[in-house]
Symmetry: C2
């Protein structure tokens, strides 16, 4: 085992440190956030910081770096109060990564990376048609994190679109069967292999492995 | 594809909704947070909400639900200003899940789930010996999220301990080679299979797959 001190971290080359520190939190979600501005220009951007915040109310959050290319997303969300979150799967993970390039405002990432827009009633923001699990989100709050000038963008989940067979009888969605991918560090993409679901943990009680039923790619 | 409206979400059985909504954000990190109080009682708790917040300064955050069993962790962190984050791997993922049982304050999860404590100089909080990537964190800020009474606990990474061969020449840590696991929903654990690392995306430039070198389990 190697041991890296705080002093070594502070003296590290900044690009090396960025890759190292980005690896520490573990595997991250991979989502495309779709948005539109008041001139009907659409935007699509990849985020690895989307996190579950709570089920009641149904809240989801992500981290925004204001100085980055992602600002089109932030401006659109502030204008319309609405966005979509689309899980990335093994069919289009490279195109999803390509959305992180610094495209101009008049360029739509949908066209540039060959993904299709999908619209539903009452939601102006575009969904990604190729995504098998996606939802519309209504902006609730933007919380400044002053320590490093990032923003925690919090929204409420309003409309969910999902491949039906992936939804288990207890509500769990088998995202592995949908080919959902995960990312480590800044740029390493991974598919997954289920170890098991586990029962709710109680003191002095052994864990039980839970079986899945009827998921699309698992027979 | 099935379509779930906001009204259907609001009327859903609360346990069903919790499992459904927890599946939406995608794959999550799996970490054990180690802490100690001023009576030298240690605590270890599993979290799926640890996220990367920034590399300079090196900041990591996680979500705390104040009313849950995790409050021992919060109280310890508030007393000592210090904790450890330990990536969970395929060797002890069931024991890690078991730490979510409601143990009493005088019970140490290390003993209950048969994991070993490891200490280093100047850090009072215990590390998990079995983890191959772990770090000490100094508390910087606890940010209340009033929308659902959760807390965003933010800390600075001070000391990193890692299996040396997993660190790539550019700083990326090959956490897959360390057997790091990921979780979907509340209770489904997964190992991973790398699709590829991808080059930094630029407009009008094709992505290149990046090779890894010398990682421990990948030859």
């Amino acid at each position: 085992m190697t041991y890296i001190t705080r002093e070594a971290l502070l003296n590290m080359d900044s690009r090396y440190r960025a890759k190292l520190i980005n690896s520490l939190s573990g595997f991250k979600s991979v989502n495309l956030i779709g948005s539109i501005n008041d001139k009907d220009q659409t935007n699509l951007a990849i985020f690895s910081s989307v996190i579950h915040l709570g089920a009641s109310p149904a809240l989801v959050a992500f981290i925004m770096r204001p100085s980055s290319v992602e600002r089109h997303t932030l401006e659109n969300i502030q204008q319309t109060g609405q966005y979509t979150i689309n899980q990335v799967n093994t069919d289009f993970w490279q195109g999803a990564h390509q959305t992180s390039a610094r495209y101009e405002r008049h360029q739509s990432e949908f066209e540039e990376v060959a993904l299709s827009m999908q619209f539903i009633d009452n939601i102006s923001a575009p969904f990604v048609k190729e995504s098998q699990l996606k939802y519309a989100v209504a902006l609730k709050e933007i919380l400044p994190i002053t320590l490093n000038n990032t923003l925690l963008v919090i929204g409420e989940i309003t409309d969910i679109i999902c491949t039906e067979q992936a939804i288990q009888p207890d509500g769990y969605i088998d995202i592995e069967s949908l080919g959902a991918v995960t990312v480590s560090g800044l740029d390493s993409y991974h598919s997954t292999h289920r170890l098991s679901r586990l029962s709710y943990a109680k003191p002095d009680t052994s864990l039980v492995e839970l079986n899945l039923v009827g998921s699309p790619h698992l027979g």
